[in-house]
Amino acid sequence: MLKQTPLNAVHRAAGAKMVDFGGWDMPVSYGSQIEEHHAVRRDAGMFDVSHMLAIDLESAGPDTAKQTARDFLRYALANNVGKLTVTGKALYSCLLKPDGGVLDDLIVYFLRENWFRIVVNAGTADKDVAWLRSLQEERGDALKLTPRRDLAMIAVQGPSARERVWAALPNSKAITEPLKPFMAGEVGEYFIARTGYTGEDGLEIMLPSARAVEFWSALAAAGVRPCGLGARDTLRLEAGMNLYGQDMDETVNPLESGLAWTVDLASARDFVGKAALLARPAARQLTGLLLTDKGGVLRAHQKVMTRAGDGEITSGTFSPTLGASIALARLPAGVMAGEAVNVDIRGKALAARVVKPPFVRHGKSLLV
């Protein structure tokens, strides 16, 4: 039995094509995936991302006033929550295994000194909670860890996204208008962050499940187009963002996944996976490809032939914004942006160019 978000009936009533995504019954598109993609690049679209899980970490017991939650996350996450000094600030990070493999990627929000919230992927949520609990036990931290399945999550993305949210939820404007990117604020029972997974401006809103249908309808009435996981995938790939389980998993480390910028190896801070990352230089890299030949579409698992050896595409698609096929690929270290490589598509070696992601940002091509 697939799990359902509070908006499941709304998607079905809208005629969405539904798929099994990590055990969840989710909309892949409501009609044309390409039109949904363009709506986000040019105007505003919304995604039901209630399958993702918010987990609250609060200092507990006699330690309530102490920095237990922060200290725990300083050790549990590869990125440094020490960077979170301003209330509402968000940080992207990997959660690593001791061998440096990626357990998940997540966003952590600093709400109060004794309260942090992390948002993790749907398919890995149970594994993450178990891992964090085992880590907490091992450290003996007085920490309350609460999976928030009572919350729904809606991402509103696009150049007009914020205005449309203000139209749908007028009392949110005072709090959210001053928010800089990667900052969050609370509006009553709504938790609103200026974050996203599309390369556009926008807001991600966590709210009580019971309010989800009403809020979704208000956004639709304000002119926000419902978008499915199909458009979400082409948007995030254009934006050069990894998809967990596809571009990275427990068998690769963040240095081989284009995420060195999220890993703090310079400071004295110890964290899970640090020793393993320091012990082994990255032999591979995750980078972008642009298909320059005609003859197909780049797809996951196609072989990439470079002067330094073979690599593999991890995510590939047709980019609606660029009108060309793009991919993320894991290639031997040392292959540089601008180099020509070949991709095996149905037995033909088609030419592609190595490109440093992202491909698209704020509606504009970054290809030169």
Partner: protein, 127 residues
């Protein structure tokens, strides 16, 4: 589901129309285009190529996935529709109005193996 009664079908979601000149016009069904989503690439066989029934002879790719197109019967490719190669989205807009290629069949008796609209509808219902 849109299934014109004058066409024949395959379980692999091609439609086939018998023309007065003895050739077969072949496309993909409305169900196939719907399942694939927005088409962005179509590769067709060379005119003059001999194909066997069930052989992969074309490819259509949507944003989501690539899908092989099979020859419904054995024969020789007699024409291809270059318009859909230039604008694959035409197939999404009208799957029966925009054919992919034409085939001159080796043996007209092979047509008996194709499905009629009702039989194809049953195949789709089972998916």
């Amino acid at each position: 589901m849109d299934l014109p009664a004058d066409l024949k079908y395959t379980a692999s979601h091609e439609w086939i129309r018998s023309e007065a000149d003895g050739t077969l016009t072949i496309g993909i069904t409305d169900h196939a285009q719907e399942a694939l989503g927005d088409l962005v690439f179509i590769e067709l066989p060379a005119v003059g190529r001999k194909v066997k029934a069930g052989e992969v002879c074309a490819v259509v790719e949507s944003v989501k996935a690539a899908s092989d197109i099979y020859a419904p019967v054995s024969g020789e490719v007699s024409a291809t529709n270059e318009q859909v190669v230039a604008s694959p989205e035409m197939v999404n807009a009208d799957a029966y109005g925009n054919w992919l290629y034409k085939l001159r069949p080796d043996d007209i008796a092979e047509l008996a193996s194709l499905l009629d609209a009702a039989a194809y509808a049953a195949v789709v219902a089972e998916e």
